[in-house]
Symmetry: C2
Subunit: 145 residues, 2 copies
């Protein structure tokens, strides 16, 4: 399967968050063409600001593998990770990160002077960025109306 396929799965996760009135971000962790973790933002449901899509997807991948490092895995996430999630990805030593839309307000690029990731982690962005940005636009438009 290709990157686009997995980003679409991350988008499905984002839609789950949207339907639950959560900021619509979704993530999946993939290793050897298998989804080993998935998550959508559950900050409101869990009353926990750490319950971002990436953290939940990583945690489920750790449990699935019984390992706290993911050097052979890729995280697909619809939005640029925040500083917290970037830090979690650093510790996980994940092999690759693919994110869709940029987040100029809360993305890690706003606060981090240098790459916060592990030196071996590859980072790509912009995949399906319009589709990834749309749920966020819809969500915040509905909040303002």
């Amino acid at each position: 399967m290709n990157d686009e396929h997995y980003m679409k799965l991350a988008l499905q996760e984002a839609r789950k968050a949207f339907d639950l009135d959560e900021v619509p971000v979704g993530a999946v962790v993939v290793m050897k063409d298998q989804v080993i973790g998935r998550g959508h933002n559950q900050v409101e449901l869990l009353n926990d600001v750490t319950a971002h899509a990436e953290i939940l997807a990583l945690t489920s991948a750790f449990q699935h593998l019984g390992s706290k490092y993911l050097p052979e895995a890729t995280l697909y996430v619809t939005l640029e990770p925040c500083v917290m999630c970037a830090g979690a990805l650093y510790w996980s030593k994940i092999g690759r990160i693919v994110y869709g839309a940029s987040d100029p307000k809360n993305g890690y690029g706003h606060t981090c002077a240098q790459s916060p990731f592990h030196p071996k982690t590859q980072v790509e962005h912009g995949l399906l960025q319009d589709e990834c940005a749309q749920p966020m636009k819809d969500f915040f438009k509905a909040k303002r109306s």
Copy 2:
């Protein structure tokens, strides 16, 4: 109770981690002179790199209060938070952070160009810094021997 008292409770948490062969960091969250969350590093036990003392202490405070924001609370932690924990503290809007020892390798100061915390969060450091650094020194000395 004063800051030193609460930092000693964070040190008790760090010692629990040490006894379990985890990197010895401990944290407590205090609001209105009550401990509302505590945590020690459980990365090895949980096989989860996000299980840092601060994250566990924050999460237990969120559950205790039924609130995902902690503007009236103080986090006491024995070591300078990493980027991930700094990001989590940002989202929590915690009122005050007091950390003991600095962490030139993995502390947030190493990676963040600007303060990663909420603009209203006060940050202090150096309280009982020698006592806070000691478990880390002992831990890594034992690992090398």
